[in-house]
Structures are given as C-alpha cells and as structure tokens.
Assembly symmetry: C2
Homo-oligomer: 454 residues x 2
C-alpha cells in the first residue's frame, strides 16, 4: 500500500450548507439567560453585539443553514482541506489501527478558525458594521479574523491575552500584516481592563478578561460588533464544514471512523469534525465513539460543573449553561493558549451531558512528545492545541495494538505550529512542567457560580 494517502475533494464538494446539530438533539439546549433578570433572552438582547443573521443562527433548529456564496468563494482559497491516512505514523506505532486526520492547517491563518471568521465577517459587513472587536488567546483566532477582515474591508480590533501577547509577538505581527490592531489584555482601553490593572498591574490576562474588553468596546460603539472564535452555537455551526468534508473523504477511503478524537478549548474544532458524524448517529445511522481531549490543567469537561455561568470575567455576557470551572478560574500557564478557557461550548457540554461523548484530560509534555512524533512521521509540525488531539489519537491506536484489533481513528489536526516554536524550544530544553490546576482555586471559582432559579 502507498505511504502517502491523501483524500482530496473537488472544489464543488465544499459543503453548500452548515450542519446544525440542534435539529437532531433528543433534548434541546437550555435557554440563554439575561444576567440581570435571569430570564431567557431574546434576539434584541444580543443585537448590540451581533448581526441579526448570526443571532438567528444561534437559535435556529433548522438542520441545514445555507452557506452564502461569498463565504464559499473565500473558503475555496484553501478548502476542501485534505484528509490523510497516517500510514507512516501507523508504522512507527506498529498498530493495526487505521489512523486518519483532517488537516485544517492549510488555511492562510494556519488553523480551522477562518471557517467561522470569514462567515462572521461576511454577516457583519452585510449588516453595515465597520469594525469588529474580539479577543484571542494563542492568536489563531485573532489572526483568522484579521485575515477575514482584510477580505471584507472591516477594521479588526483584537484584545490578546497578555501572557500570549508576550510569548508570541509574531502572532501580533501577522494580525498587523493583515491590517488589524492588537493590544495586550488587560489593557487601559476599557473599564474592565483598567479595573483589573488597578488591582494587579502585571496581570497575565485570561480569555475571560479579554472577552470582557472586546464586548465592552462593541457594546459602546454603534458601528462596532463583537465576534467570538469559539463557544457559541453559530461558531460551532460554521466549523461543521470540517466534519462534512471528512464524511465525504472517509467515504472515498471506503471506511468509517470507529473513534473520533478532537481537542477542546472552547469546543469549535471538536464540534466541527464531530457533529456531522454525531448527527448521523442521532438520526439512526452508524454509531461512533467520540473522545474530547482537554488539558488536565484546564479541565472544564472532566472536572467542571455543568451549570449556568458567565462567558467572561467582568460578567458582561449572558448566562449560558455549560461545563465550567467558574469564570474567575485562571488556569496555570501552559503552552496551548487556545485551550485555556474556563468554560466549554454549551452544545459540546450538552452532548456530553447526554452521554454522546467522552472526555479526557492530558498533560502537556506527553502531548508535545506526540506532536514531535507526528512531525517526524507525517511531516507536519502541529500547534500545541492540536497535540492534544494527536496524543489522544495515538493513545487510541496503542489500545488497538494492545487489544490486537484494527479500528478506524479519525482526528482533527486543527492547525500547524509555525507560531508556537518557543513552546517546542521549551519542550526540547526540558523546561515544560506538567502543572495541575489548583484544586482550591477551582473550588473557590465554582463556589462563585451565579445562582439561577430552577
């Protein structure tokens, strides 16, 4: 058998609609609540932040949401993305498993994030918006929105978690090359930022704080909207192009996944590859085992509480029911900035609550070892976030070896690591530590969850 097996789709097979798992769920999502009244919010409550088209996508239960032609047009720049059979990795592992990966690093920003960035920029442009404010952790999302903004002539303002901002000056440079502006968060530009800096001028920042800042800017400026790179239903919806393509490509391979593995931070790359397959199962089709891999140091799915919580630290967002570590939880420093969020997408939380997926927490050193192993066998150096999915997939493949069974394992290789080389240098210099979260901090953060009447 050939060593490089790449399944490529024709351009016209880029999906024409996004798949909405809300159509197939046995129980609907819990409603989003207003933080003041604790009553379900309506579309108008979100209108200061999002264009109406995205608000509708947030709540629709239609199974298929049409992808606007200008969005598909830009998708063509890098989509359909390839699906590979990891033959060389299989040989190195000496496993009977059939390992497949969908590679989203082919996008110009280097990850799956442009799938939703382009869509969000499009709808905002259509709504007459001039500027979008957003947050970014590792920088994958910020540079993806910057890329999309350049295509639609939108001004992009990015609040980047300070610790990542300092670790990754090159991500900022990439955003600027695309014409965006990027500041470290907490910043002096917002009330939320200033409040935190007053208490602690050297605060390392968090996604929760950066979200507060970006939301504040959008809420106060009529020509400015807010965009989020993960967590929300419409973001996960846009990512389903990944899984829909992967289904067609698995068909080309004449195979079907027994297990799907994805890494989870906010949940969007995971949902992107998983939901189309889960939908198939929910409609009575083939069953698939699904494993969400998260950092052991920021374990919302494995150690969090399934409860109503704020999406940000300053409590400017509505309340959503999700697996959460508490909005004040600050995970220890580790090198997958994209996975350092206190919450989990409501839809991902919900499918775990329904027993449709499993989750596991892994430490970073083993994940980096897996990343190096795949770089040397498959040739692509992964982002630290993707390393979690890779380690999860390798563990599944080694289980196959132990049990002497051949299973098809599919994972989402959500991005390359070209902007994460400092992390690899630290790994090779043995400077990485497998830190755990602080149980006391977690207990405190969970104790601070907002009370919501049943």
């Amino acid at each position: 058998m050939s060593d490089t097996i790449k399944y490529l789709l024709e351009e016209e097979r880029i999906p024409k609609s996004w798949y909405n798992i809300q159509a197939d769920l046995p129980q609907p999502l819990a409603p989003v609540l207003h933080p003041g009244t604790k009553q379900p919010i309506g579309p108008d409550d979100l209108a200061p932040l999002f264009p109406m088209a995205l608000i509708q996508q947030e709540v629709t239960t239609e199974r298929e949401v049409e992808i606007p032609e200008p969005v598909r047009e830009i998708y063509k720049q890098w989509r359909p993305s390839p699906l590979f059979r990891a033959r060389r990795l299989e040989k190195v592992l000496d496993t009977p498993a059939r390992i497949y990966y969908k590679y989203e690093g082919v996008s110009p920003a280097g990850s799956h994030k442009p799938n939703t960035a382009v869509a969000q920029a499009f709808y905002n442009k259509e709504a007459g918006i001039k500027r979008i404010s957003t947050e970014t952790g590792a920088g994958q999302w910020g540079s993806s929105l910057a890329f999309a903004g350049a295509f639609f002539g939108l001004e992009i303002k990015v609040f980047m978690v300070r610790v990542s901002f300092n670790q990754k000056p090159y991500r900022k440079a990439l955003m600027e090359a695309y014409g965006a502006t990027c500041v470290a968060s907490p910043s002096n530009e917002t009330q939320s930022g200033r409040a935190i800096l007053e208490q602690r001028p050297d605060h390392p920042g968090s996604l929760g704080i950066a979200i507060s800042e970006a939301v504040e800017v959008a809420a106060q400026n009529a020509d400015t909207n807010y965009a989020l790179g993960s967590v929300l239903n419409h973001v996960l919806l846009h990512q389903t192009v990944v899984g829909q393509e992967a289904m067609l490509q698995m068909e080309m391979a004449n195979d079907y996944p027994d297990v799907i593995v994805g890494c989870t931070g906010g949940g969007s790359n995971f949902a992107g590859i998983v939901f189309p397959f889960l939908g198939e199962q929910l409609r009575g089709g083939k069953k698939v085992r699904v494993v969400a891999v998260e950092p052991a140091a920021c374990p919302s799915l494995t150690r969090g509480k399934f409860a109503y919580d704020f999406g940000d630290t300053a409590h400017l967002t509505p309340l959503v029911k999700m697996h959460t570590l508490g909005s004040t939880f600050t995970p220890p420093g580790f090198h997958a900035g994209g996975l350092r969020y206190h919450g989990m997408a409501p839809l991902v939380s919900h499918v775990q609550d329904l027993g449709l997926i499993e989750s596991v927490g892994l430490h970073q050193k083993g994940c980096f070892a897996a990343g190096v192993q795949i770089a040397r066998s498959e040739g692509i150096l992964p982002a630290p976030e993707a390393n979690h999915a890779i380690k999860g997939a390798i563990d599944e493949a080694l289980k196959c070896k132990e049990e002497g069974v051949s299973r098809a394992i599919l994972f989402n290789f959500c991005g390359h690591g070209h902007f994460d080389m400092q992390a690899y240098m630290d790994y090779f210099a043995d400077k990485l530590v497998d830190q755990d979260y602080d149980p006391q901090e977690l207990a405190m953060a969970l104790a601070g969850l907002p009370s919501v009447p049943a």
Copy 2:
C-alpha cells in the same frame, strides 16, 4: 467572474519526470573545473560529496529524468500545489493584467525547497549514506532537508549563517523538531569555520562560509554526504515539477503566460517555474518573456561578472561558470537571507547569457510593501524572498495598466513568511533600510576571481 480561482490538478498529474533544460539549450553549459588543475572534472571528483545518481543528473543531457516512485510518493503529501488567479490583487491594482501565481508554501516546510530535499535524501539513502551535511541561509532549505531526512531516517547536520541563526531561532527549532541538528556558521566544528573565527570572532557568516563548513564535514566522513539547496543543475532539475504543473494549470485556465517572474538567490525556485516554459520556447513553441528579480544589495545577475568562480568562501568547491559577485563578497544585511548568495546557478547564468531572460534588482522596502499588499488581498503572507517576485509581478501589472493592455503574468510564490515575522515587524516599525552593496567591496571581490586559462 468568481473571486477565488484556484486551479488544482489531480494527484496522478504530479509529473512523472523532471524536465532537463540541458537537452534543449542551443549551446551547452561551460564545464565545471577542478580548482587545482583547472581541467574539467569527472564524476569521481564529486563522489566524496554526492551519490552517483545525483552526479549523473548534474551532467545528463536527457530531456526527461524519471522521478523515483518513493519521491513522488512523498510529493503527494502536498503536491500538486495550487495555481491561483490573483483576482483580488488585480482589482486592488485596477489592472487589466491577468495575474497568476503558483503557490509552493503548501509544503510542510513552507516553501519549494522540499521538492529537491526529498529527492536528494532519497538518492543518498539509496547510496547507503547515513548523514547529510548542508548549509542554510534563511532556514527554508535547512528545515526542508530536516523534513526529508526524517522521512528517510537520515541524520541531518545544518550549518546556518550566523546572522540568520540569531534572527530566526524558530527555524532552528523547526529543524530540531524534525530531528536535525543545527549550528551557527562560522562554527568551531570545522577548520574553515575556525579560520574565520580567529580573524573575526563575531563574523556574521555568509552562505559561502556555511557551504565551506558543510563540504568539509562531508569530505572528511565516508558515511556523510553534502547537499546543496540551490545553484547546482540537479537541484534546479528537481524544481521543475513546479513549472510542469504550472503549465498544466495554465492550460486549465485556458491561458498562457506572456511574462513569468521569479525571485533569484541561488536560482532554484526561479528555474523551477521558468525552465519548462523556456524549454517549450526553445523547441519552437510559444515565446515567453522572463524576468528574474534579485535584491539590489546582492545583484549577481545585474551587476556580477559571468566568470568562473568558487561556490564557497574557503575555496573547497570546484570552479563553475556563473554570474558572480566574487566568493569573498558579503552583501549588506537585508531580510531575504535566501537571496544573499554571491553567485547564481550556472544554468540560470547561462540562459541570461544566451539572452533568454532579463533581470532586475529591487530594494527590500518596496518588496515588503508588495508582500503586505498581497497578504491583504490574497490572504497569504509571503516570505521576504517571495516578496521580490511579487513586487516584480506587480510592477509588470502596473505596466499593463499604463499601457492599457492585458497580459498574463505568472509568478512563483515560493514560500510563506511564518518564520519571517521579525522582518515584517521591522518593516512596520520603519526600521528597514534600502541599503546598497558597497561598490568598492564588489570591485575587490571581483578582482579576486580565480584566473582560468581560456
């Protein structure tokens, strides 16, 4: 008309052979001379450095050289690479020109370099070699050979020009992730390196010095060969997959280039896209105008002498006839390390001498402006080397606008700039200077050319 026009070939249309322009040249290349005897060298003289298969490719005049199946197999990981019509850039420039670019940044190392790295690793492995030593400037070549070495289980030792080594720690990290070792050149590990460090301990290095070091290591170790990432005939030969694919893709576009633009350092990405089209012309087919773009600060084609010279600084290599600035010439610091070589590929030099191509020297700031322009219109951030080709192509497109004619312009977008963000930061901070070469230094370096009896 659609805004994203991407021409993708089926996998089976990856070329089955490399195209050798030596078969179609009206006059043969000048022979390579032994540095001592000044007589033409034979295959045995090169045997300490290269496997015989590559030595044969260096001199063959067969038009087609078969690509071994294991090499094509690895090419499939990222080939065929896409050809884009730059519609958005055309609109921004408001030009009647039809601009096409072949994008080689899709390879795992981010440039065209793996096209030859994989081939060279294969032939060395076949010949029983355990280790390859090489030099690298910007790091594109070093990381490509590291990538190829990982696939064939070869040890890779890279001497990286010190100034780039210091500017780009992340390129080194990438090489190490692929399992290679990388040291700054001049180093203490070789006689050539030590000799230079004795004279000037803070020497910034040059490609010529790094080549000396790599050649020395290969010459002294029976299990070690040397590999070069550009300049040599067999390297240019391997790159012709680029132009061959582009020909098929221009056919899909129902168009043919009036002008082809490439950037030139050693000449390999340029030859890769240009030679298949030039061959067509030489065999009586369509004519094409060809423009080589080089840095004004290292102007081998526009200001060098077409003469016999050494490929390296310590004069360990044979003498080749090429456009050269003299092997002791050190260009001023600028941000396209891949274009900082004193010489030019003999084949590229020869076709310029035959009047088949034009050349132009450009300053870096204008090239970076062009790079930012294409990032914001086409979405891909280019390497500083590629920016030279882009600026050249934009200049041609603006000429079309001035003249009110529509010409088809094709250029080689040879790599992305993910590892060159410091250069972009310097550009945005207005820290870049359009330095020229020192005419006195050039005169001295040219005066030092070896004398070769006619």
